[in-house]
Every structure is written in structure tokens, then in C-alpha cells.
């Protein structure tokens, strides 16, 4: 317990060094610190929990097998992991084209039944709209709008310019808005 608390204070690079040396606590701390972001990214990119878990596992397996592939000078550790996750998700896209199933969300329990159903409907429509976006646009929506990441940080993680992130996000939001309006008109 004491060791766990101590590992939480260490930097990613220090934990990675521990992990390379065979320290289980170091690896676990790294996993616990970053798995959420990787999982959510893969989940919103793929729309499937199973794929998101598979991608999360593969990302950390890559880290286990090839820890030297991460070079601190090239960017942050999480940016590296997101980069690996992006490649894995894209590979999954190529392997299977059935990535449009909306994610099962957890609606608030205290909300009324009608409201709950309406929210779920809204979420499903939004997820479907996100999943229909081209991968480049979807990535920026996932990172900036769903993960609340700063544009600069997203640009670093995606390995592109800040202006590119801005323009992609602008375009993606316009597409999403149009799609949602269209789906609402159809429902009405």
C-alpha cells in the first residue's frame, strides 16, 4: 500500500524505468494512470467496448514487448500511448467494418423513465453521428470534446499542427450538427 502510494508520485519515465527492470508496481502504476484515457479513446473511436478493451490491452502489451520504442524527447508518454492506440484502432477498422454499434451508456438512475429514454436516444444518435465521421475528424472530437483536452495537447498527441486540429474540429462539429438536425427531423 505504501509502495503504491509512492509509485503514484513518480513520473511516467521513472515508472517506465521500473517496469523495464521487472518492477510489477511500476508497470501497474503506469497502467492505472493511463488505461482510462486509452480505453475511452478506443471506445469512442470504435463504438464497441470489446474493441476498446482489446486495444487497451494491446497498447500495454506493446509497451511490455517494446518499451524502447517510447522516446521521451519526441513527446509525452500518454501521447505515445494514444499514438499506439490510434494505429491499433485503425487496424481494427481495416479488419472489420462493423464499428457503428452505439456504445451502451449508463444513464442517471434518478432521472425519470421518459427522460432516461430520451437521453439514451440522444446519446445513441450522437454516437452514431460520431462514428460516421472520418477517422481524422473523429479523433479530434474524441480528444477535444469528449476528453476535454486542450487543442495544443491534442495536436501533440495526434502529431499534427494546432491549426489542423482547429480546422478539423470546426468541420467535425459542423458535420455532427447537421447530422443530428437531420436525425431529429427524421424522428419528428
Amino acid at each position: 500500500m505504501k509502495k503504491r502510494a509512492a509509485t503514484e508520485e513518480l513520473t511516467d519515465d521513472e515508472l517506465l524505468r521500473m517496469s523495464k527492470g521487472g518492477d510489477e508496481e511500476g508497470f501497474l502504476a503506469l497502467y492505472r494512470r493511463h488505461q482510462g484515457a486509452i480505453f475511452r479513446f478506443a471506445l469512442h473511436m470504435s463504438g464497441q467496448r470489446e474493441i476498446a478493451e482489446e486495444v487497451t490491452q494491446e497498447v500495454f502489451m506493446t509497451l511490455l514487448a517494446e518499451p524502447r520504442k517510447y522516446i521521451a524527447e519526441r513527446g509525452g508518454f500518454e501521447a505515445y500511448l494514444i499514438g499506439v492506440a490510434r494505429n491499433k484502432v485503425r487496424r481494427q477498422f481495416r479488419q472489420s467494418r462493423e464499428m457503428a454499434t452505439p456504445i451502451r451508456t449508463h444513464p442517471e438512475v434518478h432521472a425519470g423513465l421518459l427522460e432516461t429514454l430520451a437521453r439514451e436516444q440522444e446519446n445513441k444518435a450522437l454516437q452514431a453521428a460520431i462514428l460516421s465521421l472520418p477517422p481524422n475528424y473523429r479523433e479530434v472530437v474524441v480528444l477535444c470534446d469528449l476528453e476535454n483536452m486542450e487543442y495544443a495537447e491534442a495536436a501533440q498527441k495526434l502529431g499534427c499542427a494546432l491549426g489542423t486540429v482547429r480546422s478539423r474540429l470546426h468541420r467535425a462539429r459542423a458535420i455532427l450538427g447537421a447530422k443530428l438536425r437531420k436525425s431529429e427531423r427524421c424522428t419528428a
Partner: protein, 157 residues
């Protein structure tokens, strides 16, 4: 009539709200079984790595030992040869051969050894078969008694 800019802003704000709600209600992390599986992989991988390191260390130790044994086996004959060498009589230390015609009644009390160079023909005359083509002259030690007579000869190679 709502101005288009305001409408667009309202729609964008609504979209942002809906995205925020979606983010809040979506699953936040992978299941615990992923952590367990990764931990198992980590342990297996590092156990294999440790076995490999231990195996390599043992192999290196065996190699060093084998090289050491080989080196000592090469050194040992040289050392024994060095020890044995002084025990081998020098080839030049042949015994004196008594000269048959020089046997005197006078007992040998004092003698001196004189090194001389003898032509092969003379050596043959002394009864020693020498190959005349081998050397032009032969070195020999003559044992000369107190009476000035050569009593014995020793050939130096």
C-alpha cells in the same frame, strides 16, 4: 426571427452539452480482467527474461571455466619442461674417453683440460669415426696429466 449566427452558436452549445453528457455517461475504464491479464503477461515475460539472464550467466561462467582449464593445461607442460630441463645432461658434457696409447705408470695426480680443434682425420686416428663432410674441425677437450701427456679426450658437439 433568430439571427443565423445566434442559431449556430446555440446549436454548437447544445452539441457541446450533448457531447459532455455522452462523455460522462460512457464507460470510463477497461474491466479489471484486462489488468489481471496484463499483470500475468508481465510476470511471464519477466520470469522468462530472468531465466534467460541466469542461463546466459551460467553459460558465461562455464565458458570462463573451460578457458581457464584449457589455459592451465597449456601452461603445465611448459612449467614441467622448465623444471625438468636442468636435469637433462648437456649434450656437450660427454665423458672423457681414455686414450689407449697414453696409459702411463704415473698415476694421474694433477690434470688440466685444454680445448683444442682437431681435424676430422686426426679424430679418425684416435679411433673415433667422424663424418669428414660434417664439420671442418672438431672441438675436443684434452685431459693432460702432470707429466704433460694427454690421457683422455672428450668431444664437444
Amino acid at each position: 426571427m433568430i439571427p443565423p449566427n445566434k442559431l449556430r452558436d446555440e446549436l454548437q452549445a447544445e452539441l457541446r452539452d450533448r457531447l459532455r453528457r455522452l462523455a460522462a455517461t460512457s464507460p470510463q475504464s477497461a474491466g479489471p480482467e484486462i489488468e489481471d491479464r496484463l499483470l500475468e503477461m508481465f510476470r511471464t515475460r519477466h520470469a522468462r527474461k530472468q531465466r534467460l539472464v541466469r542461463g546466459l550467466a551460467a553459460l558465461a561462467a562455464c565458458l570462463v571455466l573451460a578457458l581457464g582449464v584449457y589455459w592451465f593445461s597449456l601452461q603445465a607442460p611448459r612449467q614441467s619442461a622448465r623444471r625438468v630441463a636442468p636435469e637433462i645432461p648437456p649434450s656437450g658434457a660427454a665423458e672423457f674417453i681414455a686414450l689407449p696409447y697414453a696409459q702411463s705408470e704415473v698415476p694421474l695426480e694433477h690434470a688440466v683440460v685444454v680445448r683444442v680443434n682437431i681435424p676430422p682425420a686426426q679424430a679418425r686416428a684416435l679411433g673415433v669415426p667422424f663424418d669428414p663432410g660434417a664439420r671442418s674441425r672438431i672441438s675436443a677437450d684434452l685431459l693432460i696429466g702432470q707429466d704433460g701427456m694427454a690421457r683422455a679426450v672428450r668431444f664437444v658437439p
